[in-house]
Amino acid sequence: MKKATTLFSEGSHHWQVIARDPERPSHLIDTNEYLVSSEAQSLLTDPGGQEVFPAVFSALSEVADPRSLTHLFASHQDPDVISSLALWLDVNPSLKCYTSWLWCSFIPHFGGSASTFIPVPDEGLQFELGRQSLTIVPAHFLHSSGNLHLYDPRAKILFSGDVGAALLPDDQQELFVTDFDKHIRAARGFHQRWMGSSQARDAWCRRVSELDIELLCPQHGAIYRGPDVQRFINWFAELEIGVLRTSA
C-alpha cells in the first residue's frame, strides 16, 4: 500500500505526499500524489490513474477524511495524472478540479461535468485554499501543451508535475534525493524525451528561480530539497532536450 508522509505542517496548513506502493504492478508508472490542506479545504495534486485509486484512497484515509477533499489539481491531461477523476467524484460529487483551460473539454472524457472544472488561463492564477493562498505557475510544453505547476509560498513547496521526474530503479526508492549525481541519471532520459521545447524550459527555469523553494516535488520519483532544488534547475537549464534516441 502507498504511504502518506508529512512534508510540511504549520497550524492547520499541511502538505503530505502519498508515495511508493510496493504492491504496484510493474507495468504501471509509479506516481506521487500530494495532499495540501488548509483549514477545512484540501486539494490533491495529480490524483493519479484509476488503477492506483484504491492505493491512493487508502493511504489518504490514514491522514485525512477523503470526503473532506474539496479540490483536485491536474497539471495536465495524461491518464496517470487524472484518469481516476470519476472515482474521486464518486467520493465527493462536488469536487472542483483546477486544470489548464486547454484540457477542460478533454479531461471530461475521464469523468466530471462542465461544473467540475476550474479553467486556468495560460498565465496561471492565484487562489485561496482554506486560508492559504496558492499560485498556479505556467509550465506549458513541459511536457504538455497546457501544463501547470502549483506553488505554495508559505510551505515553500513547488509541485512540478513531470519536471524533476525520475524513473527510479527498484533498489533506489528513497522519498528524497540523497545523492543528486546518482539520482539525476534516472531523470536524464525522461527529461530529454518528454520535454521538447528549450524555449519553454528556459522560461520555466527563469520563472521558478525567482521563487523561494525548499522542496521541489515531482509527480514521479524523489523529492528535491534544499540546495538540490537549485542544482536541479541549473542541471535542467543546461540539458539538451527534445532528443529522440533510438532504442539501444
Binding site: 484509476q50 484504491p54 484512497f57 484515509s61 490514514e62 477524511d65 470519476a86 472515482l87 464518486d90 467520493v91
Partner: protein, 196 residues
C-alpha cells in the same frame, strides 16, 4: 438486464469506517498509556491495591486486543476500497456499453456483454459479503467496547478501596478509563450505523 449498478455511497461508508478506526486507534494508544500510568502510580503510592493492578493489566490487554481488531478492520477496509473502485469502474463501463448498443441500428451486429454483466453481478455479491464480514468485525469490536466499560468500572471500584491520596490519584485515572471506554462505545455505535 441484471442489476449491475453500484451505490457510490459505498465510498462514504468506507471513509466513515476509516475515520472511526483512526479514532479508536488513538483511544487504544491513550488507554494503554493510562493503564501504564495507573500501574506506576499504584506502585508509587506503595499501596497494596492488587485488585487495581490486576484491572490495569487487563485494560492493557484490552488495548492490545482492540489494536489487533482494528488492524483486521483496516485490512478489510482496504479490500473494500479495491472492490468498490473496481465495481464502480465496471458499472460505468457497462452503462456506456448499454448506451452504445441502444444507439445502434436494428441491423447492426449486437455485442454480447452478458459475461461482463455476470462478472459484475458476482463482484457486487462479493462486495455485499465483504460488508457483512465488516459488520461482524464491528460487532466483535462492540463486545470489546462493552468489556472496556466493565473494566473501567472495576478500576473505579478498586481505586476507591485505597487511602484518600490513592483514591484521588487512581480515581482520576479510573475516570479517564471510563470516559475513554464511553467514547469507544459511541464511536463503535456510529460505525455500526454507517455499515448498516
Amino acid at each position: 438486464m441484471q442489476h449491475t449498478e453500484i451505490d457510490t455511497a459505498n465510498f462514504g461508508r468506507v471513509a466513515a469506517l476509516n475515520e472511526a478506526a483512526k479514532e479508536l486507534m488513538a483511544r487504544s494508544h491513550h488507554v494503554n498509556r493510562l493503564a501504564l500510568d495507573a500501574m506506576v502510580q499504584s506502585k508509587a503510592t506503595g499501596a497494596n491495591l492488587r485488585g487495581f493492578d490486576e484491572v490495569s493489566s487487563q485494560i492493557r490487554h484490552w488495548s492490545r486486543d482492540l489494536h489487533g481488531e482494528l488492524e483486521r478492520l483496516r485490512a478489510l477496509s482496504r479490500e473494500l476500497v479495491v472492490q468498490v473502485s473496481h465495481a464502480s469502474k465496471e458499472a460505468r463501463l457497462l452503462s456506456l456499453l448499454r448506451r452504445a448498443t441502444a444507439t445502434c441500428s436494428e441491423n447492426a451486429p449486437r455485442c454480447d456483454f452478458s459475461l461482463k454483466e455476470a462478472a459484475q453481478v458476482e463482484r457486487l455479491e462479493r462486495l455485499r459479503k465483504l460488508w457483512r464480514t465488516m459488520a461482524v468485525a464491528l460487532s466483535d469490536l462492540d463486545q470489546l467496547g462493552l468489556m472496556a466499560a466493565v473494566l473501567s468500572r472495576s478500576a473505579m471500584i478498586e481505586a476507591s478501596s485505597g487511602t484518600s491520596e490513592q483514591r484521588a490519584q487512581l480515581g482520576r485515572v479510573s475516570e479517564a478509563f471510563y470516559q475513554n471506554s464511553e467514547s469507544v462505545i459511541s464511536v463503535l455505535k456510529a460505525a455500526l450505523k454507517a455499515v448498516a
